[in-house]
Symmetry: D4
Subunit: 255 residues, 8 copies
């Protein structure tokens, strides 16, 4: 609660528009909705943080998903569910007829029309770059999130460092974006190379793609944090959603 | 090298302004300066990446520092050296009379006037927030870097989660910044709290402040990466410089 | 064996009430029950440590569970089994008709009536606070354990740091409890915030909720141990039972 | 700020005792003291959390220590500094003549008379038990903290599991305490043994005593968290102060 | 090949009993049996190392198990297969009618009669002590191995440190053994306690019993290696077979 | 693109054979093939790096495998797919009738005749040595890769350090190879022993064979990197393919 | 306290030789000596565990060393101090004139004549084998400990796996010992090789010799635990003392 | 010992040229030199493994260095000591007047003239490429080792991925070498990029250059092992010597 709002409430007491008890109630009133099962859905999060509540689907039962989607979808609000497996995704499509499940990024979207089929947009204020084909699910989760929050976003896929020449034709596109999201598994070298070649801020997303010493994404995570190229920041492993939220906040701030 | 520049060179061959050999020379010519000791200082990095070359002082001998500063300082270019200990800092002040060493952030600056003494500016496009007094060196390194690259930046220090009421008076200031840099050691909880309270992108900097299970900053690093609040990205431990570079790139992109 | 009891036995020898051999037998007699399969159930543990033997269900076969419950349930003793999956839980309900399985906390209870359905009590000498909906199973395991050992306990759920305003309405309730159990996954920041806001001892329980750098609960565990707020102690990952045992011992000591 | 206090302020507006602006000022007024060097000492922490601000001496320069002690010592408030090395300790004794430095626990105390010399009290509401001679500094830090906060506390030292018979004579004393702090390095087995033998809550403190696979205290930390005996909670490595704060909060709650 | 045997061969050349080529053949002749599938079974290992080849069943297909057992069982040699799951165990019983599968230790034995049913022998030159009921499979694997190699061995189970009084009645038995194998999961404290109470060498076996910070047995492993009691050595996690091999070698050496 | 090729293009502009735009197009033209699903198959990799594109089968769906094999197999190019499980392998055999799946190494090969059945060649420019039977799949993956790229390669299996005498008869063969690939799990000691006995470069491949402290291959990996014998380099865990690629490059360089 | 001793005390009560209080006193009397500084030296440890108390010198101040040695040396008891640096070692020689400091193993010995100079005995019931010259300090600590406890022990040094031929001439000697202690740093492969070549039990001691991925001895520790050769058990890193204690216990048991 | 040599000895017995005892002596005779202090210098290693014994200077006392150099330098043999600090290096120069210490690579060389001053050769059969200026010591250690073993070797320094354009002018040189050694710290991305651009085998050397999540070289080590570019193998952190030994063996094999 900002000082301005607080002052306004206090002035209403002073002017008699509110009793102290009513004011107290407003001040401590919690802007969230308690659901039947003890979960509090944070409906005002969008107002407070710029990113409205999104359902993280991994590890949730289909009942929990139903209940969460139903609550958030009231008043035709758009709903995004991330990290949804195929079974739950198809079930959600049945349960909420207007919605659509996309299996590569593993997202379910309701009350909003997004087209996530190939070819994806190749340019945007936010530009997502993925190293290998196996990083595509995470890159598409990022793209989905950007589009869901109404940002212009593009995706250039499969331009890893083992064949750097595939990156070079895109350097101009990179330099026209406002912020880059670079998704890479294996040794995670792509963000360093990109940040060394252009002047845009890079949000790096390590993926769990690889085996052995990839350690489920720990190695690219550490490599990205240790990058010799300045201007890189990093999010959790496979967290395309988080990288996109960060980029969305940057773009919203500068609209 | 962008496609536009390349086309321009090719057209000069076509028009006879350049011979093929001269053109070849220009294309492969490397825009860096080879120093006497085998180090290549990357003088054109600023043009290419928006962040000109900065000297990372940690682990360098005083001779290496002299040589690096001297090369970069030609033509009165401003020079920034980070992570400089007291002995080397004072030595640099003697060797380069116009320069100044600031001991808390451990930076040496030449050919640019910056005032890093307390009180620091409290607002800015980039706002730096530090959790505890011991995190101040890293927070000041970030502030120095922002100011060195001519960005408006402010610093609010010592507002850790063990006394959250110290943060609340600053919420309005936070909401007026464009990007936040949040510096915290110990368990690294401050970025989550800040990102949950306001709608700006947060670059989190874990510090090695703490002992035992702080593990020299690994614990706050992991905590920040795992944050439950969306819109946070993270840099290396104690890397105030890197967080600032990222924020500078964001601001430059939107000037 | 306390000195007092030992002295009493020795005096009986002196007075001829016991022969040396009989006394020897009493001194080394082991107060536990050897079962058919080589397991020793520690029936006197309650007398010795204040916490009677509870069955840890994870990794046990249904046969092992049957046998353990049967032995402990003699003489209508109340029995608690923790970390029971759905299949085994339903099987136990069939096998021991008076008992009841609760699936969210994964507990089976026999010879004692506990109501674990929502809404849970909101106040108590022991107050359990959980950060996110996904932490609920662990929080309910703690609540169950407290109630099983006849302590007044309450539960406030889903008040994580990404929406701190949800916590503030409960601060008075917190300050009226005697000990707090704070359950959190992800980055585990909630215990620091709670301990910074009120003067009660906090037992922190990290959960394995999260992905990537959550590392199955290691990150919140480390964060809690490294907390900048004094007055926090920590138990094993997902160990709602252990935190409750600790709190029960504290309350029993001060009855 | 509790609801009660807030209501009182709001009623003063309603009754005209405060203008809205004055009230706003009181509500957001931060009860801490900004020092010359950008550190905020949290003078009201004692009121809020039961544990007043204590100076953590490790890694602080002697100048920082002077400044912190001076600020906290105003109005003859008692001051505790922990983890102080010999050089800084003796320096503080010179600078603040009434104060005293104790070298084994590494603490400096001003404006309060504590006797930390051997023999220490052997009983108390809080009873500290240390495994080996090398764990003594951490155990004494805990004792100091308890006494500084006016709690009855005792210390039984050097009763490790490699010679368990040394523990048995003290079992009665243990059973008369209200909470136990058990300090152990090496493999950290003592808390399990103590918690298996008596019915008091045990706060376990791992120490960095040992070599090789002790891993600077990580091994006893993990062992304590994994204990097979219920009723143990754990604090950071070498954190005698934290364990004592926890125990003090437990005792204060039940005074 | 020992010097003595070599000398004997050389003398046979000198005396004309062997030609140089025949001798060369004997010297480099490899005493192992190449199987059809490229596996070399080391039939002479028993002669060389005192422990004949045993089949490690984990991760082997049923075909690989058949082939290995068949080769080793020639000439009615006794065969031991360890870490066999239930499916493969029952299959082996069918395939090799004289053999027997025991499911708790997960071993299959052919051409040798061993009785592994409860109650187990309680004394022996080698005495195995297990901390909890869940450690029983590993303890029984050790018992099986000792008996398979014709050593007198006993097993005392379920005497963990959370109820140390269960250990005390057995101290005399311990002192009559020649070597102790102590099996423990969780925090792995039992070997320290045993080694502190009696004068026999202790081979400690950490088990993967536990959860969270047990880290699949790493915590008890580290705790055992860091023990404050001298005279303990440690084997791999869950390696009851390895501990038994070591103890068998000790006993064979002193027969 | 080499300088020579670039100069040639530039000369064509100069001589009017190419317009600047045509030249630009050639320079930035990317020699890869964009597939329908956003994957770029790198068809020119063989020309550039000596190793043509191979399909890494692990984690790919059968649809992805079909698509990748189909694209690479155009013009009867030989195709190698590694780390293919049995189900996908048999499916590929059906889909691409000329191809063959080998289940031990888990490879599928199309448009090339390789015989991977036992016995394998025992000598070669590249000689592969495997420690135990369980390391065979990785060793065979290496052998397959060498043969696929037309190198002479041999395989000596099951000569681990627990029975070193099995290695000695092969020392002459080792000394006639040009490069050795040594595959070992467990503690990974074989490469040290081999490198200490002969003068050939050793590429060590750790495998995930083992349990407990093998840590899925991390222990042999670290042991190989820390070897006391000079002349060893190491590849990722289970990476028989990578070791073979390295050896193939060495041999190709010296053809 | 064994049952036999306890019975004897009880019979004395029965016969009137002891009052119950006297008996109680004897039973709970702790057979250790409380020193002035709160340390309990465990003087009866030798009787109880076969290994009398030894002073672990690392991390102890010279005052603590003086006090410990003085207490243990009463009645001309032999005293061993391990892990003593040069400064403290020479100081102890001055303070206790009959004693001697040996700098390579870092031990100080009083009231016992041991000759630790080269050449060391080459045979013994206990045979110590060290891999490299840098492992010598740990190997000599083991040798010293064996000799201090009056066991026949020998040392063969510098026979690492990078030159295995150096080991072969000693195989006969190995086969005549009763127990082997194998000391190795780097990748720690020697114990596997030794255990594969002879039939004696092997106690492996990893050392912190090496750099990088040796990780201060963790790599050889893990390698030894994961050894493919049965009959190896392992002690803590650099713990020559512990390995020797184990071997001494084995030998004492079989005297 | 090869079969051929053995046969020759056996034939001498047969022909009476050797007695069995003399032959035995030759067979088991160990071709190493036992020094006064128990170290065995392996003088025949060069014959056996292609790499003669080199002194690893780190952690050795100046006395140990003197003794090792003296022994190896007999008969004017060239001697190389690696990882020598400045103090010991200058001392060795005094003690062995013909020798020379080079401080950047930290090597001392005797009985061989090598010029390690800048500029270094830029081409060679072995080409060393280093990422940053701080990696130079490790790169020069590799160069020294190659030259010491009489291989043609060159060094291209300071061409890291943050400024990839610095690498491109050297691509032709790379393609003319036979084997590449790529040295990089920080995130270790350079080997992937190099291996993706050219067809030579790459030996990657991670360095401990960096801070925080570089983890003393672990991060680049893991990144290199996990590289997406085939044809890379890796050596220990900072192990320029080991990489060079490997490359020397490759080149010697193909001379």
């Amino acid at each position: 609660m900002m000082k301005k709002e607080l002052l306004s409430i206090l002035e209403k007491i002073s002017s008699g528009q509110l009793t102290p008890d009513e004011a107290l109630n407003q001040i401590v009133h919690h802007p969230y909705q308690e659901a039947a099962n003890g979960l509090n859905l944070d409906l005002h999060r969008g107002m407070r943080t710029g990113i409205s509540e999104v359902v993280f689907g991994q590890g949730k039962s289909i009942d929990q998903l139903h209940s969460a989607v139903e609550t958030l979808a009231r008043d035709k609000n758009p709903v995004l569910v991330t990290k949804v497996g195929q079974d739950n995704g198809l079930d959600l499509e049945k349960r909420f007829p207007g919605g659509r499940y996309w299996d590569v990024p593993g997202v379910f979207i309701l009350n909003k029309q997004l087209d996530l089929s190939h070819p994806w947009p190749g340019t945007g204020r936010i530009l997502i770059i993925s190293a290998g084909g196996a990083d595509l699910p995470v890159a598409l989760e990022a793209l989905t999130t950007c589009l869901f929050f109404d940002q212009q976003a593009g995706l250039i896929s499969d331009v890893g460092v083992a064949g750097l020449h595939r990156l070079f034709p895109h350097l101009d596109t990179l330099s026209r974006a406002e912020i880059l999201i670079v998704v890479a598994g294996m040794e995670g070298a792509l963000p360093s190379v990109v940040a060394g070649l252009c002047d845009k801020p890079v949000v790096a997303v390590p993926t769990s793609v690889g085996y052995g010493t990839n350690f489920s994404g720990v190695t690219p995570l550490l490599a990205m944090l240790t990058s010799c190229a300045p201007g890189i920041s990093v999010v959790n492993i496979d967290n395309g959603f988080g990288a996109a939220c960060f980029a969305v906040k940057v773009c919203c701030t500068h609209e």
